[in-house]
């Protein structure tokens, strides 16, 4: 465990080292990069969801003054080693790969798909020219609903694929059939769950420069995964690894979509190489609505069986998942949904048929929560359904089904991708629920509810439990080096988009080496600084990079002790590290600064290094988490429904959160708060809509509603710390967790508010008009009885 961390460094809310420059407007985001001679790119995009491109007339666009080039797939193809962007990930679920093109070749498969790249002296001229490109195409029928697209006779979403069923699997264990035959009660429900986009306030952006002198491509990419971007560029452009450097500069939020390699990330560097000038492309908001991946709709037909006491016996059903027009990021979404359904509960039998359908919409890929909120929603709604049928309280039915702390580590019967049982490493789920209910004064709510009802106000309380698999491997890299100047330089494959990664890592390194944070310089998100790395996805960087830097820093500390021992002629055990020095315990004046040691280990011509040590005061570690660390939490929320309008107001929100040991509780809370509000958005506000022909109906923040400061409640967070046994620091991830329980808890609160009417919430988002229609239908049912 973290015994060598100086007191106060772990579990302390130190202010962030990132803040000052961001607060002064001195951050450097992709669009802040200006290079001499740089051209500005705009894309010509498909105006329709599905068509065959007959011809593209570029003559007017190319003739416009200020335009340097208008490039189509045919122009870029000589730069490329392969027809498509090689993004396929191995998955037994996938029936065939659908790699995207960097620019559409012949078939247009979603509105917004890039067709041509215009490079001009300014973005405005590039946009002028893009409008002058004339497209001649033959419209094809579009698939806009995954389930309909899977029916026989449906049109094909892509002519270059065998059919629309891009992936399928059956996730099953236990005897579901027997359980349903034996079960006392059964709840059947159909869910149609929409989840929206990532909507980082900074859109995507790429700046690429090919330096012919250095024979080197440098790409500044607002990405969560620069190392993956580099690997794709190396493979696509036929360059050697040493010729490609990808840097993630300051990145203005990620939330999933920036983990996905998009076509523009190849088209822009390819254009920069072809034209031999730097090219910048900054996505505008309209493009981010049409061409950035997001989540969309899942349809679930589900059935749960339980015994008389409300104990779950089995869940079975089907999941239809809208995949979009290609596969830039595997099938993580539907898989996460399916596995996260189980949650913190004992589920003896499970049978889920998953069908993933191609549609003529922008590819669906993870946004914060990555499919897990949907699985949790289904489970929590089914539990509420069973509770209702049996007349058991909602907290009680959960208590009866929660995994007990004595069962930890708990191996679920689900076998994951790596062939092992999906295993919850630690946690006390019943205690988490108990604390949340206590903090929210759950048991006293019915009194307040009754009082409000007598005034004509409809109040409800809801709750949800969930787990989140965090800290996904295979590894993250870190290297710690004490420079002769005394600066501590930390390089890592981790990549930040606002999480406070630098602070988190500096806090840990500072704790091990006994140096203040301002002495520590973190270089993240740069493939030139770290040859290996993975980046930001699956709430993983504290777990993977956090442990990696601690291991590396401990090696550095050990070496510093050995060097100092040799120089001071004492035993290494008699030394400790503090205030940037290695000191002899108990003798205040006897010490060597880390800078002195680094200088000594830098070597002096002709002299031996102290203690016969290897050169340099540095060490590296690639920490590989053995398995997924499971974060868990309970959300309790109070909602008020205006039954005359269907409007929902959230009055109070309580989260009890357990992500193991915390490095910086303030930043953990920041992650949870952001996640909860993202979840509130997905539940009540955000709805990415398309018309029947696949045209996006949302292109501005007037059409697509994000939660704002005036519509979110104060959120109260309490922590539990069940250390993970899977990593030396005992930590788990926190970045997505807040999103996962929100929809379930809010839906439960709305149902509770409307309990006298018997309204059931099965579809997301719960917009006022939709909720009002449910209220109206319930009133009519009641009146006709």
């Amino acid at each position: 465990m973290a015994g060598d961390l100086s007191p106060g460094f772990l579990g302390r809310s130190v202010p962030r080292v990132e803040d000052a420059r961001l607060l002064r407007g001195a951050g450097r985001f992709a669009d802040d990069i200006a290079l001499p001679g740089m051209l500005h790119a705009a894309f010509v995009r498909s105006p329709v969801a599905h068509a065959l491109l007959r011809s593209v007339d570029l003559s007017n666009a190319r003739a416009l003054p200020g335009v340097r080039a208008v490039l189509t797939y045919a122009d870029l193809r000589p730069q490329l080693r392969c027809d498509r962007i090689p993004l396929a990930l191995p998955s037994a679920m996938l029936r065939f790969d659908v790699d995207p093109f960097c620019l559409a070749q012949r078939e247009l498969c979603y509105a917004g798909e890039p067709i041509a790249l215009v490079a001009a002296e300014s973005r405005r001229v590039a946009e002028d020219a893009a409008r002058l490109v004339e497209l001649d195409f033959e419209a094809l029928p579009a698939v806009v609903d995954a389930r309909q697209g899977l029916q026989s006779g449906a049109p094909k979403a892509r002519l270059d694929c065998p059919d629309n069923l891009v992936a399928q699997t059956v996730l099953e264990y236990g005897d579901s059939e027997g359980a349903f035959a034996a079960g006392s009660i059964r709840v059947t429900e159909r869910f149609r769950i929409h989840k929206g986009g990532g909507h980082s306030i900074e859109p995507r952006g790429v700046v690429a420069r090919f330096d012919a002198v250095e024979d080197m491509l440098t790409v500044w990419d607002g990405t969560q995964m620069p190392h993956r971007a580099k690997a794709v560029l190396v493979a696509s452009l036929g360059l050697a690894e040493h010729q490609v450097r990808v840097i993630a500069p300051d990145v203005g939020g990620g939330f999933g979509p920036k983990a996905v390699f998009h076509p523009e990330e190849l088209a822009v560097p390819a254009a920069a190489m072809l034209l031999q000038v730097p090219v910048k492309w900054i996505e505008d908001r309209l493009e981010s609505f049409t061409a950035t991946v997001g989540e969309r709709v899942q349809e679930w037909e589900m059935e749960a069986a339980a015994d008389r006491e409300g104990r779950l016996l089995a869940i079975r059903g089907r999941l239809y998942h809208d995949h979009g027009a290609c596969t830039p990021y595997g099938v993580a979404l539907s898989y996460n949904s399916a596995t996260n359904l189980v949650g913190p509960y004992v589920l003896p039998a499970y049978h889920l048929e998953i069908q993933v359908g191609l549609t003529n919409l922008v590819p669906a890929a993870p946004t914060r929560g990555a499919g897990r909120p949907q699985g949790t929603f289904v489970m929590e709604r089914l539990l509420d359904g069973i509770a209702l049928q049996l007349g058991i309280e909602r907290d009680e039915i959960r208590r009866r089904n929660l995994i007990a702390p004595a069962q930890m580590p708990y191996a679920t019967p689900i076998v994951t991708r790596d062939g092992k049982a999906m295993t919850y490493d630690s946690g006390d789920y019943p205690e988490c629920q108990r604390r949340a209910l206590a903090a929210a004064k759950w048991s006293e709510f019915s009194g307040r509810q009754a009082a409000a009802r007598s005034e004509g106000r409809w109040l409800g309380i809801g709750m949800a439990n969930y787990v989140e698999g965090t800290g996904r491997g295979p590894f993250e890299s870190a290297a710690v080096r004490v420079e002769p100047s005394g600066e501590i330089r930390v390089t890592t494959g981790a990549t930040a988009q606002g999480q406070g990664t630098k602070t988190m890592l500096a806090q840990l390194v500072g704790g091990v080496l006994g140096v203040p944070l301002e002495k520590i310089h973190i270089v993240d998100g740069d493939t030139a600084a770290s040859p290996l790395g993975l980046g930001a996805y699956a709430s993983r960087q504290a777990v993977t990079a956090g442990n990696a830097v601690v291991i590396a820093a401990r090696l550095v500390a050990e070496k510093a002790r050995k060097a100092a021992a040799a120089m001071l002629e004492v035993a290494p055990e008699d030394l400790d590290l503090a205030d940037g020095c290695v000191r002899v315990k108990g003798i205040p004046g006897l010490k060597r600064s880390l800078a002195d040691l680094a200088r000594a280990l830098q070597g002096t011509p002709g002299y031996a290094l102290p203690g016969d040590l290897e050169p340099g005061l540095a060490a590296a570690s690639d920490f590989q988490p053995g398995a997924i660390a499971y974060t868990n939490g309970t959300h309790v929320v109070e909602a008020e429904v205006d039954i005359h309008t269907g409007a929902v107001r959230l009055d109070r929100y309580v989260v009890v959160h357990d992500c193991g040991r915390m490095i910086n509780p303030m930043m953990v809370e920041g992650q949870v708060l952001g996640g909860v509000v993202h979840g509130i958005g997905a539940t009540l506000f955000e709805w990415m809509r398309y018309d029947e022909s696949g045209q996006p109906l949302c292109g501005t923040y007037a059409d697509y509603v994000l939660p704002t400061a005036d519509v979110v409640p104060r959120i109260e967070i309490h922590h539990m710390e069940s250390p993970s046994p899977l990593n030396p620091l005992g930590i788990k991830g926190a970045a997505e967790s807040g999103t996962i329980g929100a929809a379930s808890a809010i839906a439960s609160a709305i149902e509770d508010a409307l309990k006298p009417l018997g309204v059931r919430i099965t579809d997301l988002p719960v917009t006022p008009a939709r909720l009002f229609a449910l209220i109206r239908a319930a009133e009519q049912r009641r009146d006709s009885r």
Binding site: E127, D128, L286, T645, F685, G699, T700, V705, P768, A769
Partner: protein
């Protein structure tokens, strides 16, 4: 999302502006820009010439007239919001303004710009409709006046002839014994309304409704007066039953709809908001009698 090219003109007098507008083909007036600029950025509007009224000082300002308030078309929403004259003379307008955008947009957005843009869900046209605002419109051949309810000519289209500019908005002073309320439904406070209702009720000494003016926005292309509901109220003591009848009349209006807010839902909101507006207006009116 950059605008298509245009030429920019910045007149300093109304006469100069009218002259430019008459002379330049495919020209548009730029007032506060809070609606036009997004349309330019999205290339939903592609004028060849933009005539910025921002420095035509004669078009700004609030003054008192015999009948009420006279507000220059280029007066910013924020200036009206902060004007004691407006607060005292036309509280309904102030209540509507509280729902309009954010301070950063109200700092630049103007009353005239909002009325001419005529977003079907905007608040100020609804208030202007209920208040029976009189608009002064200037052209090269002179000035004319028009009542606001005759101003909308269709979706986002004011009844302005080529070459005309809205210069002034005149609003009647609040009568003694009158009550007012502005009610809207929107997901977030600063959003355009889904449906908005502005109500003015004047009560006589006998507590009967002497005059009723109710306008509603968000149902169709432009705000409309609720004539049916008004006639149910005028001449009668206003009780809960009358209010309910008026609300029912509002809910029978024709409405456009979409997937998020279907027509049926908007009609229902029209009823709910009309009832709420009338109840609050009535309470205020009774206090004043």
């Amino acid at each position: 999302m950059k605008p298509a090219p245009f030429a920019y003109h910045r007149p300093e007098t109304l006469a100069e502006a009218l002259d430019l507008l008459a002379r330049l083909p495919n020209a548009r007036i730029l007032a506060g820009g809070q609606s036009l600029m997004p349309m330019l950025n999205l290339r939903m509007a592609t004028p060849d010439h933009l005539i910025d009224l921002g420095r035509v000082s004669e078009l700004s300002g609030i003054s008192e007239t015999a009948a009420g308030l006279s507000i220059g078309a280029m007066t910013t929403q924020r200036a009206i919001e902060r004007s004691p004259l407006a607060r005292a003379g036309c509280p309904l307008l102030l209540e509507a303004l509280a729902h309009v955008g954010h301070q950063a947009t109200r700092n630049r957005g103007t009353i005239g710009g909002s009325l001419c843009h005529l977003d079907p869900a905007a608040e100020l046209p609804v208030a202007a409709c209920a208040l029976e605002a009189t608009l002064t419109i200037a052209g090269r051949s002179g000035k004319r006046s028009i009542r606001f309810d005759e101003f909308p000519a269709g979706y986002l289209t004011p009844r302005l002839a080529p070459g005309e500019i809205l210069t002034r908005v005149d609003l009647p002073r609040r009568e003694q014994g009158s009550g007012w309320a502005f009610e809207e439904f929107s997901l977030r406070a600063a959003d355009f309304a889904v449906v908005a209702v502005a109500a003015l009720l004047a009560l006589g000494a006998d507590r009967r409704v002497r005059r009723a003016s109710i306008a509603i926005g968000g149902l169709g292309a432009a705000p409309v007066r609720l004539a049916a509901a008004e006639s149910l109220l005028v001449g009668h003591p206003c009780d809960a039953e009358r209010v309910a009848d008026a609300a029912r009349a509002a809910a029978e209006l024709r409405a456009d709809g979409d997937e998020v807010y279907p027509a049926e839902y908007r009609r229902h909101l029209a009823g709910v908001l009309t009832r709420r507006a009338l109840e609050r207006a009535l309470a205020r009116g009774r206090k004043g009698v």
